[in-house]
């Protein structure tokens, strides 16, 4: 369970989900096509997950599978998982998928996420420890947030190891102060 203050978790829950309203709702402005402050039953609206899933659980509206988990994405990931641009589909692909799966009753979603992650994980690992950052900027532009975090975790611990090996000053200017100083020199 993510922490209440978790920035990434809050952003995952901001992802849009298509819903169809089953009940009428009064006094709100969430249906851009509505002319009044009301939502009619049957209205189709895109809502952020934090709102959609609560309404779904209370049977006020019914959630549908968001576009980023459609059949085409599944096929593409199945064919050549490592080279699919997931970032443009959903920056929080896996986390969002985990939240959505139990609600929309998609029995395959879990194993689909897992196998996608496994194929892509191998490629990230292979690239992360080896070459320079810029050489793989194309790969980086495909990665979801969690994949980027993984890549950076691998990169930065390897870089830290190399820095230790080379030696040099042990004490440094606090990074929180930014990098102003270097420019002045």
């Amino acid at each position: 369970m993510a922490s209440y203050y978790d920035i990434d978790d809050i952003l995952v829950e901001e992802q849009r989900v298509p819903v169809a309203f089953q009940q009428a709702v009064n006094g709100v402005d969430i249906d851009p096509s509505a002319e009044t402050h009301c939502v009619e039953p049957g209205s189709k609206v895109e809502l952020p997950y934090w709102l959609a899933h609560e309404l779904h659980l209370r049977k006020v509206a019914k959630m549908k599978v968001p576009a980023c988990f459609n059949q085409r994405t599944k096929l593409e990931l199945g064919a050549d998982g490592a080279s699919v641009d997931l970032r443009s589909r959903c920056l929080y692909f896996y986390e969002f998928g985990c939240k959505i799966a139990p609600l929309v009753g998609d029995r395959d979603m879990g194993s689909f996420l897992l196998s996608a992650f496994r194929t892509r994980y191998q490629k990230i690992l292979a690239k992360a420890h080896n070459a320079a950052f810029t050489a793989h900027s194309k790969l980086l532009s495909y990665l979801t947030k969690e994949e980027t975090n993984l890549y950076e975790a691998a990169q930065s611990s390897m870089a830290a190891f190399k820095k230790w090996r080379i030696g040099g000053p042990r004490f440094e200017r606090a990074s929180v102060l930014g990098r102003k100083r270097k420019e002045a020199n």
Binding site: Y5, Q23, G27, R58, G168, V176
Partner: protein, 199 residues
């Protein structure tokens, strides 16, 4: 505009910022979120009033007004989470700052803080100081495992005559080099006023 859109701006500001770095406190967006919260609260109340005037039981009736209240309630909860996360994550950076630069906030950080954050920083560093004096341990030194008790440094900022924690005084003119007690030098290095020389 969808509810909670302003609040997510604050969260994105934290997410997009460089890790461990502070951005200027977004007081404008912050108060806009508060304003949205007040609006949700007012809308919620007027929906309740409407049901009461119609003689309906507010607790059990599930009509369109009830669901309207639900959405305003959820939006309030959501906005609150975003505001709290914004404050919490900034406070975390501030707490780490005390360990790095001591109890005085450097100018470049000072201007990024809200009034209550400055207050928080002051109180936190006071609490830390009083704890350290009670356990008679300077906990903020040797954040990097020490090698030698003395290190060689070069002064980057003209500081003139300075009294060091070890009760010595030294004249720190710009570009002058010194052989200092590690514990004396550590704070100046992390403030960027000196650099360690090796080799």
């Amino acid at each position: 505009m969808m509810y909670g859109t302003k609040a997510i701006q604050l969260v994105k500001e934290i997410a997009n910022g460089e890790k461990g770095q502070l951005t200027p406190f977004s007081s404008d967006v912050f108060s806009e979120v508060i304003a949205e919260c007040s609006q949700h609260f007012a809308d919620l109340r007027s929906l309740i009033r409407k049901m009461q005037e119609a003689g309906l039981d507010v607790e059990t009736t599930k009509n369109e007004d009830h669901y309207g209240q639900l959405i305003h309630h959820l939006s309030l909860v959501r906005n609150k989470r975003c505001l709290m996360a914004y404050m919490y994550n900034r406070a975390e950076i501030l707490r780490n700052l005390v360990w790095k630069v001591g109890s005085e906030i450097p100018e470049e950080i000072q201007e990024k803080l809200s009034h209550s954050e400055k207050e928080y920083f002051k109180k936190h560093s006071e609490a830390l100081k009083s704890y350290m004096s009670r356990v008679v341990l300077e906990l903020a030194v040797d954040m990097v495992p020490p090698k030698d008790p003395y290190i060689k440094v070069r002064v980057l900022d003209d500081m003139g005559e300075v009294e060091l924690p070890s009760d010595n005084t030294a004249n720190f003119a710009r570009h002058s080099m010194h052989f200092l007690k590690r514990t004396d030098a550590e704070k100046y290095i992390s403030l960027g006023k000196m650099e360690e020389l090796t080799g």
